[in-house]
């Protein structure tokens, strides 16, 4: 019997098929798990070191380049002020008679937050005007710095940079102490400014060849301020000096912000690496060894009906050898059968029949052999093979998130059939429609994936989505954009349900929570990486290019799914059917479940799309942030979810604690929005989105688990999966309503007031949720509290 002659039957082999030696299996599993985890940790540690080193170098380079940029700005501000003063000088007004100078300088400081102070002194160093923090520093420099040589040619007729040959203070021990911020020494310097030059720690001349240009202006770091001085001249006479100061802390602050960005970039890169390393280890090590171990377990159990699929390298060699053994055993038994058959025909007197029977029985009784249909091929897969394509898919979709509202703005023109359509509504429309389509596709795709297989639906959905993204990038008007974006949403719904079903197919009830964690992990990782990279890309290659890039990633996801998301030969069918109206009615008649939907699940989804997807990019853009920054701020949502989601399930195990947690989480989401009243700026948004992400992570992790416990009778009647399907469909209507509702609010209120309204309503929803459930509980309706929440039902 050769391999060619075997007509292979591919069957999944599971533990239940074999009477395996459990102790041996455990030993093997622990050994292999340790081996893979160590390999993974080594890889991640090396990547962190390398990425950290690159980021450190990058930060170093940036800081070197950024400091002179601030000084250039100080010089430009100085020259602009000097230019204005110059006009007054031309009019013959003496400097000391200038009226409203403080207000004028205040205006400049307000318009240029990077500038700490502007001080004007006379030539003897006496302060005439000054505004801002750190003026004492400038006064510390008010030594008689009259030029030794002829003053350089004036700029704008009456301004000149302070000559670089102006006396520079010798660096003494005292000055060095001042430089590092010794308050006593600093005070000493401040009480002696007129008699002793101020401590000069560092002179930075912004280099540029040529004369009389602002780039030649010298900045001096004194007591924590970069001071940029300019001479003011009336005609040929030097009449005053202008000092513009930049606080060293401002530059440090900018560098901290840069460092924060570098840390985020590092984190994104590590997450991407994590996903691909996971895939590589799963594909190159875990899958072939897993199948080999199954084959060994079968052999130890006397089962020689299985063969391993072809592989390469040493795995391939050992697979081949194990397959040869299987064939040899089968061949031997076949030979014995044939010989026995021949002998039986010769055994005319029946002398050897009994012996023959014993021999053949011996050969066959203890063994499971290849059947008439041929050998069964050992099959195995890993959820990682659906996780990586899903990660890529979500990554691609989320890439568009930071710039999508801006993209809609760029192509928007009210259609002829609806000329009064506002931009706000126009931005919300594609978001809402896409959510509606994705929600409606969920039950349809579930049935389709039962019929055509998870892989096919994933691939098909990803291809549809990629096409939608490409076409979205080419859209020249609003209607085209809305159509193509919705096409992309069709694929979105298909891919998600295909992945979810794949997890269900390949996990047992006990391992389902872990399987869903793998699935959610891919979504969270994509949520984090997508906006961050998408924002950078949009800044660099534009909207259309970013759409094409996202489409190419979606194609890559489709390819990975096609190539690696291998399905069990006969994938399970989850007995799905389209939800009926009576199912909705049945569930919504349960007051507890209605409360969950109306006061927790739907408001959460409304805020997810209305606040996070729609309003946040708009608000951040209105603050002057580019797409890259918008992307990074949006990323905070995923980051919060990444850290909170894994711990939520184990923290709240009873129905009562889950209800309290969900109610509190809803209020947290409301508080996150209310916080923006206090701090309506970019940093406020970072804090708000992080808090919002924590609230969403807690609520969305626990809500599905509450469905069977709040509506046990209804769930039993409909079936767990069907009840959850209906619940999710209603919940997803919130994602549809969200952008439209926020657009409506924006038409009547400012962005900050919209935050306030949404936040207050959300916080109220949280309170209502807990109150209504407490009332229902006192009425004694529904199940008793304290029973364990069925986390597994989340699937």
């Amino acid at each position: 019997m050769t391999a060619q002659s075997m007509e292979m039957e591919t069957v999944t082999i599971t533990k239940s098929d074999l009477h395996v030696d459990e102790a041996m299996e455990d030993k093997l599993r622990i050994f292999w798990k340790k081996f893979v985890i160590r390999l993974f940790l080594i890889t991640i540690a090396l990547t962190i070191i390398a990425v950290g080193t690159v980021s450190y170098f990058a930060l170093n380079q940036f800081q070197k380049k950024m400091t002179p940029e601030f000084q250039k700005q100080a010089a430009v501000v100085g020259q602009t002020v000097a230019s204005q003063l110059g006009r007054a000088f031309v009019a013959g007004i003496p400097l000391k008679d200038f009226y409203g100078m403080e207000d004028y300088l205040d205006g400049f400081l307000k318009a240029n937050p990077a500038i700490s102070y502007i001080v004007i002194t006379d030539i003897k160093g006496k302060k005439l005007f000054g505004r801002g923090n750190g003026q004492a520093t400038a006064e510390g420099l008010l030594v008689p710095l009259l030029p030794k040589k002829k003053a350089p040619a004036p700029m704008l007729s009456n301004i000149a940079p302070s000559p670089t040959e102006a006396p520079v203070a010798p660096t003494t021990a005292v000055e060095s102490t001042i430089a590092v911020g010794d308050p006593a020494a600093s005070a000493q310097a401040q009480v002696q400014p007129q008699v002793q030059p101020a401590p000069v720690v560092q002179n930075i001349v912004i280099p540029k060849p040529g004369a009389d240009k602002p780039d030649e202006i010298t900045s001096t770091l004194v007591s924590g301020f970069y001071d940029t001085p300019l001479w003011l001249r009336q005609g040929n006479e030097i009449v005053a000096r202008l000092h513009v100061g930049v606080d060293e802390k401002t530059i440090a602050q900018q560098n901290y912000e840069l460092m924060f960005d570098v840390v985020i970039v590092t984190l994104v890169a590590l997450l991407v690496a994590f996903e691909f390393i996971l895939f590589t280890i799963a594909f190159a090590i875990m899958l072939p060894t897993g199948m080999m171990f199954k084959m060994l377990a079968a052999g130890r159990d006397g089962d020689y009906s299985w063969i391993l699929p072809p592989a390469s390298g040493e795995f391939g060699r050992i697979s081949g050898q194990l397959n040869n053994i299987t064939r040899r055993v089968n061949q031997k038994v076949q030979e014995i059968r044939e010989d026995a058959g021949e002998l039986a025909s010769l055994d005319i007197q029946g002398q050897i029949s009994d012996k023959l029977r014993v021999v053949v029985q011996n050969a066959q009784s203890k063994l499971t052999l290849i059947g008439k249909t041929g050998p069964k091929q050992i099959w195995d897969t890993s959820l990682i093979f659906s996780r990586t394509p899903l990660f890529l898919f979500v990554f691609a979709q989320e890439m568009c998130r930071p710039f999508f509202p801006n993209y809609v703005s760029s192509v928007f023109k009210a259609p002829d059939w609806y000329p009064s359509l506002t931009l706000q509504t126009a931005i919300s429309l594609p978001l809402s429609l896409a959510m509606l389509i994705a929600a409606l596709m969920t039950p349809v795709s579930g049935i389709m994936s039962d019929r055509f297989g998870r892989r096919m639906i994933f691939v098909f959905g990803a291809l549809i989505s990629a096409t939608g993204l490409v076409l979205s990038g080419t859209a020249t008007d609003f209607m085209q954009l809305i159509s193509w974006w919705c096409l992309s949403a069709v694929g979105y719904g298909m891919v998600f349900i295909a992945c979810q079903s794949y997890v269900l197919d390949n996990t047992t009830a006990a391992g389902r929570a872990q399987g869903m964690a793998i699935y959610l992990g891919a979504i969270i990782a994509g949520d984090i990486c997508g906006p961050a990279i998408g924002g950078v890309l949009a800044d660099r290659i534009g909207f259309a290019g970013s759409f094409y890039f996202a489409a190419s990633m979606t194609f890559a996801a489709a390819y990975l799914a096609f190539r690696y998301m291998v399905e069990a030969p006969a994938h399970s069918k989850l007995d799905r059917k389209l939800p009926q109206m009576k199912d909705f009615v049945l569930l919504l008649r349960n007051r507890k479940l209605l409360s969950l939907l109306m006061f927790a699940s739907m408001p959460g989804k409304i805020l997810l799309t209305g606040f996070l997807f729609y309003l946040t990019p708009l608000f951040l853009a209105s603050l002057g942030n580019g797409d890259a920054i918008i992307g990074r701020v949006l990323m905070c949502f995923g980051l919060a979810a990444l850290f909170v989601t894994p711990v939520v399930g184990s923290m709240f195990k009873t129905q009562r604690s889950s209800i309290l947690a969900v109610g509190t989480a809803v209020m947290i989401q409301g508080a996150a929005l209310l916080f923006l009243i206090v701090r309506p700026d970019t940093i406020g948004m970072v804090i708000s989105i992080t808090i919002f992400g924590i609230g969403q992570a807690i609520a969305t992790s626990l809500q599905p688990g509450l469905v069977p416990t709040l509506a046990p009778a209804e769930t039993q009647r409909l079936g767990n999966a069907a009840a959850l399907g209906v619940y999710r469909l209603i919940e997803r209507m919130g994602t549809v309503i969200g952008p439209l509702l926020v657009a409506l609010l924006l038409a009547n209120f400012s962005q900050v007031n919209t935050f306030a309204i949404l936040g207050a309503v959300m916080a109220g929803c949280g309170a209502m949720f807990m109150t209504t459930l407490a009332v229902e509980r006192n009425r004694g309706g529904g199940s008793k509290g304290g029973d364990a929440v069925r986390q597994g039902s989340a699937s």
Partner: protein, 260 residues
């Protein structure tokens, strides 16, 4: 896992690590370039907004744009202040240049794309990049807050590009060097780490090969060094017994055949 498997796994993982390092470098560079561009915009913004405010003050007194004769002088002075400024233009609401620091002759119009970009931008300032030139523009409004024209400042981004290129080159060099060092170190570490399991797989291959041969398996006494080897030896022992039993059954059958 022989060298081929080890090498393949090592190459795959090291490639991902290298790509991650290069991605990090690129993303950091992109961030730096954006920050540098923002600072440059702020710097020119100081001059730009000061000029806009000056012009609008005059407009709010009721003067028409064409009548602001001192504007030409102001534009020229501002251009002299900073040699990266290529041109400053004041244009009316139909796009016709009214004043320009480069003293254009005749009634020239500003490029058409400025108007479309200005229209598409929601904020008060719009930007257009044309080759190495950045155009910063805004509308000029009269006392009734009605746009009567626009102001555009064109500056060269060459210095910024040069600075960014320097950082790109330096960061790129670091990234490539780190990638190379990482690749070498990681390859050595992975090879060393996978060596043990590679040896195990070689031994396993040696142990199971005789079972598949035609000849009777000669199973020597082996001692396992890890759980995988133990599992394979267990399998080998069971399978060896099975094969031997089958062989002996075959011998019995042969004897019977001879007898028959």
């Amino acid at each position: 896992m022989t060298s081929s498997n080890s090498a393949r796994i090592t190459i795959a993982i090291v490639s991902i690590m290298a790509a991650t390092v290069l991605l990090t470098a690129y993303l950091n560079f992109a961030k730096f370039e954006t920050a540098l561009g923002r600072l440059e915009q702020n710097r020119y913004g100081v001059l730009f907004f000061d000029l806009r405010d000056t012009i609008e003050r005059s407009l709010k007194l009721g003067a028409s744009l064409n009548a602001l004769s001192s504007t030409q002088d102001a534009l020229e002075r501002l251009k002299d202040l900073e040699d990266k400024i290529q041109d400053i233009t004041v244009f009316d609401d139909s796009g016709v240049i009214v004043f320009s620091s480069t003293l254009v002759s005749g009634k020239q119009k500003v490029p058409a794309n400025w108007a479309s970009v200005a229209k598409a931008t929601s904020g008060p300032v719009w930007y257009v990049e044309e080759g190495s030139t950045v155009v910063m523009g805004t509308s000029l409004k009269n006392a009734f807050d009605k746009p009567v024209g626009g102001l555009a400042l064109q500056y060269s981004k060459r210095d910024r590009v040069v600075a960014a290129n320097q950082v790109f080159f330096r960061l790129g060099t670091y990234a490539v060097a780190i990638t190379l060092v990482l690749s070498i170190i990681a390859s050595i570490i992975f090879m060393l780490y996978l060596r043990g399991i590679s040896r195990s797989f070689t031994r396993i291959s040696e142990w199971v090969r005789p079972l598949g041969n035609k000849s009777s398996p000669d199973l020597g006494a082996e001692s396992p060094t890890n759980a995988i080897e133990e599992a394979v030896l267990h399998y080998r022992s069971k399978t060896g017994e099975t094969i031997k039993e089958l062989e002996s059954n075959a011998v019995v059958l042969n004897e019977m055949e001879v007898k028959a």
